[in-house]
C-alpha cells in the first residue's frame, strides 16, 4: 500500500555544498541529516539510512519506499546547457502554495513588474491543461505572455511561450522560450522540500542555453524572481492549500492550479493541504 506522502522523492540538499559540512534539516516534520559518505551523498533519519540519489545538482531522498524512479528531465543531459544551482530559500508557507505560485502567470505584471510582465499586458489567453495519466503528471501547454525582460538572455520585450509540468507533488518544471536558441526550451524548476506543512525550502534549478551571461547573474535573476514571490507566499490565508472548491475562486487563467489541486486530491496528497469546503 503506497503512502502518497512518504513514498515520494524530495530534494533535501545541494550536492555542491555537501563538502562544506553535514546538513541537518527536516523532511515532513522529521529530522534528517544529509552527509557525504565516501564521496557519495547519504541521508539518515534518526540513524536509519534512507534511500537517496543525486540528480539535477541536488540530493533527493524519501522517508518511505518510492515505487517509481525520480522524474526525468532529459534537457539536464543535453550538451551545451548550463546547469545552475540557485540555492535554497526558506519560506514560511505550505510547500504546495510554493509550487502553485510557480505555475501561475497572471501575477507577473504585479509581482514581477517590468521583468516578467507589466500593465497593461495583463491578459492571460487560453491555454491547454491536462493531467497526463500515463505518466501521472500535470501539464500546461501553449501558455503565452508578453514580457518586458523574460530572461537575462533576452534583448528586450518578447512574447514568451511557456509549458508547465508537475512531475511530483512538490516539484514544478517550467519550459520557456529560449531567446538564443529558438526552437529549444529553457528549463527552470522549483524543487520544494517540505520541512513541515507550513514551512518549506525551495531549491530553484535551471538548465539553460545561455553562453554569455555570467553564472552569478543567472543565479541572481532567479533569486530575484523568487524573492518577489516570497512575501506573497508568506501572506496567503489559509496557510494550507484548499483542495476543495469554495474557499477560493479560480478563473480560466488558473486552469493549471485547478488541475494541480485536483491531481493532489486524487493522489491523496494532503501534506500542506486542507480538505474543507467554504
Amino acid at each position: 500500500m503506497t503512502d502518497p506522502i512518504r513514498d515520494e522523492w524530495y530534494p533535501v540538499a545541494l550536492v555542491s555544498q555537501l563538502p562544506q559540512g553535514d546538513r541537518d534539516t527536516l523532511l515532513l516534520g522529521e529530522p534528517i541529516r544529509v552527509t557525504l559518505q565516501d564521496g557519495q551523498p547519504m541521508v539518515t533519519a534518526s540513524g536509519r539510512v534512507l534511500r537517496s540519489q543525486a540528480r539535477y545538482g541536488h540530493v533527493w531522498t524519501s522517508l518511505g519506499s518510492p515505487t517509481r524512479p525520480l522524474f526525468d528531465i532529459p534537457e539536464a543531459d543535453q550538451p551545451g546547457r548550463r546547469l545552475v544551482d540557485v540555492g535554497l530559500v526558506r519560506v514560511k508557507c505550505s510547500p504546495l502554495r510554493a509550487v502553485e505560485n510557480f505555475l501561475d502567470i497572471a501575477h507577473f505584471p504585479f509581482v514581477h513588474t517590468d521583468i516578467l510582465g507589466a500593465e497593461p499586458h495583463t491578459e492571460v489567453g487560453r491555454y491547454d491543461v491536462a493531467i497526463r495519466d500515463e505518466v501521472d503528471e500535470v501539464w500546461a501547454t501553449k501558455v503565452q505572455f508578453y514580457q518586458p525582460q523574460a530572461a537575462k538572455s533576452a534583448a528586450g520585450g518578447i512574447t514568451t511561450e511557456y509549458m508547465y509540468r508537475v512531475p511530483a507533488p512538490t516539484v514544478s518544471v517550467l519550459y520557456k522560450t529560449c531567446p538564443p536558441r529558438p526552437g529549444e526550451w529553457d528549463v527552470i524548476t522549483l524543487f520544494v522540500q517540505p520541512l513541515t506543512e507550513t514551512l518549506c525550502e525551495v531549491w530553484p534549478w535551471m538548465a539553460l542555453f545561455d553562453d554569455t551571461t555570467p553564472l552569478t547573474d543567472l543565479i541572481h535573476f532567479q533569486q530575484t524572481i523568487f524573492l518577489q514571490d516570497r512575501s506573497i507566499l508568506e501572506n496567503q490565508q489559509p496557510s494550507l492549500l484548499p483542495l476543495d472548491p469554495g474557499l477560493e475562486i479560480p478563473t480560466r487563467a488558473d486552469l493549471t492550479s485547478v488541475a494541480y489541486r485536483r491531481w493532489l486530491k486524487r493522489r491523496g496528497y494532503t501534506y500542506g493541504a486542507q480538505l474543507v469546503a467554504a
Binding site: 545541494l14 555542491s16 555544498q17 562544506q20 544551482d85 540557485v86 540555492g87 535554497l88 530559500v89 526558506r90 514560511k92 504585479f110 509581482v111 513588474t113 517590468d114 500593465e119 497593461p120 495583463t122 525550502e201 555570467p214 553564472l215 552569478t216 547573474d217 543565479i219 541572481h220 533569486q223 530575484t224 524572481i225 523568487f226 524573492l227 518577489q228 516570497r230 512575501s231 508568506e234
Partner: protein, 217 residues
C-alpha cells in the same frame, strides 16, 4: 565606480538606491554570496579582507561598509543627500548611518537566518530588531513634530537611505512592521520619490500608476 553587489542584500541596495537617486554611474559586479559563499573566497578577500559586501571600487579607491560608500557616492555625485552643511544635520546623518548598522546586525541577521538559513541567535536578533524599530518610529514622530518629513530634516538624506531597506524588509525575518504607522508613512514617501528603485521583497507602488485605460474604475 564598481559595486561588488548581491541583489538580495539590503546594504548593497542602499548604494544602488542612492546611485539611482543621484544619477551616479554604477557598474554592478554580482558576487555569489548565496549559495556560493564567494565573499569568503580567496580572490574576494584580496579586495576586502573583511569578506563583506558591499564593496565600492573607484579607480584605486576601495571602500567597504555601506555607510562609507553612501557618504562617498553622495559627496561625489549628489551632495544634497549629505544634508545641509550644518552641525545639526551633519550630526543627525551620522547618527542614522550608525543606526543603520544596528538594523543590519538585528533585522538583517534575522532575515538571512529566516530566508537563507544563515546561523543566528534568532530570538536575540528579533528582540533587538523590535527595539530598533521602536526607536525609529519614535524618532519619526518627533521629526514630524519638529516639522521635518525625513529623519535628518526637511529633505531625504543618507539618514533615510541607511534605515529604509531593513525597515521595509523586517517581516522577512519574522518581525512585523504593522505596529509602526510613522515608519509606514515615511517608507511610502521614500518609495514615491522620483528615480526610486525596488529590490526583491520591496514591491512597486502600483497606486502611483493609473489603471490601464478602458477600465471602469
Amino acid at each position: 565606480m564598481i559595486l561588488y553587489d548581491y541583489i538580495l542584500s539590503p546594504d548593497c541596495y542602499k548604494v544602488r538606491l542612492l546611485a539611482s537617486f543621484v544619477g551616479a554611474p554604477l557598474e554592478l559586479r554580482a558576487v555569489d554570496f548565496h549559495p556560493g559563499g564567494e565573499h569568503r573566497s580567496a580572490p574576494f578577500l584580496r579586495i576586502n579582507p573583511a569578506g563583506t559586501i558591499p564593496v565600492l571600487q573607484d579607480s584605486d579607491l576601495i571602500l567597504t561598509e555601506s555607510a562609507s560608500i553612501l557618504t562617498y557616492v553622495a559627496a561625489a555625485h549628489g551632495p544634497d543627500w549629505l544634508g545641509d552643511d550644518t552641525p545639526i544635520m551633519r550630526g543627525r546623518v551620522a547618527q542614522w548611518l550608525a543606526f543603520g548598522h544596528r538594523l543590519s546586525a538585528s533585522i538583517g541577521k534575522a532575515r538571512t537566518h529566516d530566508m537563507l538559513q544563515k546561523p543566528a541567535d534568532i530570538d536575540a536578533c528579533r528582540k533587538s530588531g523590535v527595539t530598533a524599530l521602536r526607536e525609529l518610529e519614535a524618532a519619526l514622530i518627533e521629526a514630524h513634530l519638529r516639522g521635518d518629513a525625513f529623519l535628518a530634516g526637511h529633505r531625504p538624506t543618507l539618514a533615510d537611505i541607511a534605515c529604509f531597506p531593513h525597515a521595509m524588509l523586517a517581516p522577512d525575518g519574522g518581525i512585523s512592521t504593522d505596529p509602526y504607522p510613522a515608519i509606514r508613512l515615511w517608507t511610502r514617501s521614500l518609495r514615491a520619490l522620483p528615480r526610486f528603485i525596488e529590490m526583491p521583497g520591496i514591491h512597486r507602488l502600483h497606486e502611483l500608476k493609473p489603471e490601464p485605460t478602458g477600465s471602469s474604475l
